[in-house]
Amino acid sequence: MSIQVRLQKTLRSKKRSFEMNIDFQSDDSFTVLFGPSGTGKSMTLQMIAGLQKPDQGFIAVGDRILFDSSSGINQRPQQRSIGYVFQDFALFPHLSVEKNVAFGLRKKWNPFLHTRDRLRIAKVLVMLEIESVAAARPAELSGGQQQRVALARALVTQPDLLLLDEPFSSLDRPLQEKLRRQLDDIHACFHIPVVMVTHDTCDVRALGKTVVTYHNGRISTIQKKQKLNHKTCETRKLQFYTAHA
């Protein structure tokens, strides 16, 4: 499924003004938006999800047009069918893991879930290895578990597109590597195209197929990559650690 994104947005505050002008298209199932922080990567995700409105632009996932300023289309975030894993996960702190995951499947005014949905939740919990903590609250979980809950919550609604905002940045290094591999497996399993924001070169090497590099609100390069295996990244990191030990 192809993703088309063309965005223009100017933000002005007293201290600085920021101009964003982004245009990319990706036919790959895994697109990485790469670059230093403050260059508009996360804002791009928010605009794709409909949480922020571009001044001008066009956003399409497959043949669904989510936003088009020239014809006045602007779907609400609720209609876009986009899974979003936020940088700090944004889990619902007052709900158990299971209820967090079930949130997107509950229909209006109906407290009960369809049996099919229950099965789907159970399956996702097992797949992401969080079934043992299903009754726990988010605050009781480790960072890695919280991340998987956020991922499960987004995946269970079977969105057309999955957005990941620096999903590994708050986790420690060894865990990152494991989760990166897990994400790759899950991605292969669910067949949902992913757009991921990162400033970590390891993410780019391990996961990216199309890599869009941001610089100051603009795109500097778009690269299509052959997927490198994890070893390259790990060896490189090992070298890094031994060199600094």
């Binding site: 999800a49 975030p77 609720q78 979003y84 944004a90 702190p93």
Partner: protein, 216 residues
């Protein structure tokens, strides 16, 4: 005893009314960035700083038999709020509304906007977000405000006197009864009523303090 029952009835109904209206206003205030927001906030806080008699005067002007709203109510429905316990409910609701709005608004603003956005991307409607996310996460602040509002409504004197009067058995609440008892030199009764009000007020403040502490 009759005045105690009446006080509790008036305070409970006033709190109930202020609770619903207050939460709605607080939520809208917490989520709006309109230029008139400061003005609306100030207007809603006004009952807290105005002398209750001034507030009572406004009520009489609006709701009295010759008042703008009161005349219309009386001519079309035969309803008059003057010198009734319902009038006392209105007065008490109005003075306690700011307490609920302030406290709930702060609690709603404390709810992480990213969490609400997460609910949006999962398909929850704005009403759904209010009931399933915002209220459950802000309930401590809402409840603390509601308790304060109840305490305030129980002690309401000035505005109530202006609109509902001080009719024993009909509109005479505890605070009115204290005034009457002191005027009549009945120190024992006055002392007893004062103790009742003080104990209830103190318990409510301690309880709401505990709630707010747990929130932070």
């Amino acid at each position: 005893m009759e005045s105690l029952y009446l006080t509790l009835k008036v305070a409970a109904m006033a709190t109930l009314a202020a609770f619903h209206l207050g939460i709605l206003l607080a939520y809208l205030l917490a989520h709006s960035s309109l230029p008139g927001k400061k003005f609306v906030e100030a207007f809603l806080t006004l009952p807290m700083v105005l002398p209750p008699t001034v507030l009572g005067y406004y009520l009489v002007v609006f709701l009295g038999r010759n008042g703008w709203v009161g005349k219309w109510l009386y001519e079309n429905f035969g309803i008059s709020l003057m010198f009734t316990w319902q009038g006392a409910v209105l007065a008490a609701a109005l003075v306690s509304l700011p307490l609920i709005v302030k406290s709930s608004c702060a609690a709603f603003q404390d709810v992480d906007k990213t969490i609400e956005n997460a609910a949006r991307t999962l398909g929850a409607s704005e009403v759904g977000i209010f009931f399933r996310i915002s209220v459950p996460l802000a309930w401590r602040g809402i409840l603390a405000g509601t308790l304060l509002a109840f305490a305030r409504a129980m002690g309401e004197f000035g505005a109530t006197l202006m609109i509902a009067g001080n009719l024993p058995g009909k509109t005479q609440t505890l605070s009115m009864a204290v005034y009457d008892a002191v005027q009549a030199g009945n120190d024992n009764l006055a002392g007893f009523l004062v103790m009742v009000i003080s104990v209830v007020g103190m318990s409510i403040l301690v309880l709401s303090g505990i709630l707010l502490e747990k929130r932070s």
